[in-house]
Amino acid sequence: MKEFLLLFRGTDTKPDYSPEQVQAQMQKWMDWVNGIAQNGKFNGGNPLFDTGVTITGTKKVVTDGPFMEGKEMLGGYISVSAENYDEAVAIAQNCPILDGETGSVEVREVRPV
């Protein structure tokens, strides 16, 4: 079993979402993670704040704030166990972030050292 990181970018919701829509979307996320957890493949994960700081180069230039457009913004990540990329991608394909035009999931295998 290998470990994969699923990185979520962009968003799946609109600012004018109604409470019922928020709830429906929330339930989708919970069902998705529940499903992974029930198969014993969920290792953990966290959301990230929208704010941040970047330090660049030898001069250690510090830049404030989010670094990019909304669709490139890293919103959170989870770690899953999977046999191979195909399985990890199959899990990622059901991620609710993909309900949004700008939503994307990046799948990366963790290289054990």
Partner: protein, 423 residues
């Protein structure tokens, strides 16, 4: 982050919607009615945060989490305001908001105070200066957490119309600087009547509307009952007529499942499968009908509920106590002698003394010629009565007229069926 693999997280139905109503009410009490949009923004913000966090860690008590988050955001805003003001004028700090003391705000987020704020909000949304159509849209938006599109779908309207209604209502309560309170004494009596009427209209939008979606219609009925129950829970407000209205709505709702068949056709009371009636709602209705009699006031809700209850306790259609129901209609006409009430009374007379008699009664209703031409119910009932006395051509004429006056598909199906029986 922890997540045991056994635990399944399911949110209770309408959790966010119901919490939205509570949160907006409490926040509006803190920031004042003119800042109701600030309250809505905070709620939206808290929901966005929930959406981000709960996937990874669902709170033990989601409702409490939402309230707590709303509270923290409110306190943040007040702290920022105080901070800014301190720079401007150190000596006299006066918040532009209703409340700015943290302990008071903590207190407003206590259970009883939340309920109190919700009631204040119902009274604000159902302010007598607003048209009923605006009241209903506004109540659904603010007290019930519906979005504009959801309201438009529920009320068979469109986005722009509903948006305008809500904006008009918001502007009114904010321009007039209305007090965010529960009226007292005589004022309460008057204002409560308006609130109850608005809640009942909301219920009827669900119960009688031509909306195709059963889910939406049921949703509106449940929402009206929820608002009605809220009124019964407060000892200053819970007058007998609040109980009577809840009783009426619960008893009517008990038949919700048996009113339409799988093809969306109306099943008449006579043919309804009474085993499908929701006994839980009947019991709830009977309980509140009983409570509504603790007083010397009789409202039309009392009598209407008593009439519906008569049907609820009849084992089958043939055992309906029409004599008792006619007595109730006689009482009702003294409180409310609207043409529709008189029409229903005539139907009951028909059950007791025959269709001929009922037709005569209908002809005695003031302005009946007008209603025959404009109200589908009148022509539908007359069509039915004429078909019972075998005057088929008359019956057909009325059914045809009725068909042209209703937009409801379910009603139309029923009318066509009746029409083919007399053709």
């Amino acid at each position: 982050m922890n997540r045991s693999s056994e635990k399944i997280y399911i949110l209770t139905d309408h959790l966010f919607r119901h919490e939205a109503g509570k949160m907006v009410a409490v926040l509006t009490r803190i920031f004042g009615l003119p800042n109701i949009e600030l309250a809505e923004d905070i709620v939206q913000d808290a929901f966005a945060q929930a959406l981000k966090e709960w996937t990874f860690k669902t709170p033990e008590n989601p409702a409490a989490w939402l309230m707590m988050t709303a509270k923290n955001k409110a306190i943040d805003i007040l702290r920022r305001e105080r901070h800014k003001k301190n720079y401007e004028e150190e000596s006299s700090y006066n918040s532009q908001y209703e409340y700015s003391s943290i302990p008071i705000i903590e207190n407003l987020f206590m259970h009883n105070e939340i309920k109190d704020s919700q009631l204040r909000m119902i009274f604000a949304c159902c302010h007598p200066s607003l048209a009923y159509a605006d009241q209903i849209a506004f109540t659904l938006k603010i007290c019930s957490g519906f979005s504009i599109d959801e309201i438009a779908a529920a009320l068979l309207s469109n986005h722009e119309t509903i948006k305008k209604r809500i904006q008009r209502a918001k502007k009114y309560i904010s321009d007039k600087n209305l007090k965010f309170d529960i009226p007292e004494g005589n004022e309460l009596k008057k204002r409560l009547d308006v609130v109850l009427h608005s809640v009942y209209l909301l219920f009827n939008e669900g119960y009688n509307s031509g909306n195709k979606s059963e889910l939406i219609r049921k949703d509106l009925c449940e929402e009206a009952i929820r608002l009605g129950l809220m009124l019964t829970e407060n000892e200053y407000i819970n007058q007998p007529k609040c109980f009577a209205l809840v009783a009426l709505m619960a008893l009517l709702s008990s038949r919700f499942e048996s009113r339409l068949n799988t093809d969306g056709e109306i099943i008449l009371l006579e043919e309804q499968d009474r085993s499908k009636w929701n006994t839980e709602l009947i019991n709830l209705g009977m309980y509140y009908l009983n409570k509504s009699s603790e007083g010397n006031e009789i409202s039309d809700y009392h009598v209407e509920a008593a009439i519906v209850a008569e049907h609820s306790i009849a084992k089958n259609f043939n055992e309906t106590n029409w004599t008792r129901i006619l007595q109730l209609y006689d009482i009702l006409t003294k409180i409310n002698s609207s043409p529709v009430v008189l029409l229903n009374r005539a139907i009951v007379i028909g059950k007791l003394s025959g269709a001929e008699k009922a037709i005569n009664e209908i002809d005695l209703i003031p302005d009946v010629t007008k209603f025959k031409k404009t109200n589908y119910l009148f022509s539908a009932v007359l069509g039915e009565l004429y078909s019972q006395v075998k005057k088929n051509s008359e019956a057909k004429k009325f059914f045809e007229q009725s068909l042209s006056l209703t937009n409801s598909e379910a009603e139309k199906k029923l009318l066509r069926k009746k029409m083919s029986a007399v053709s």
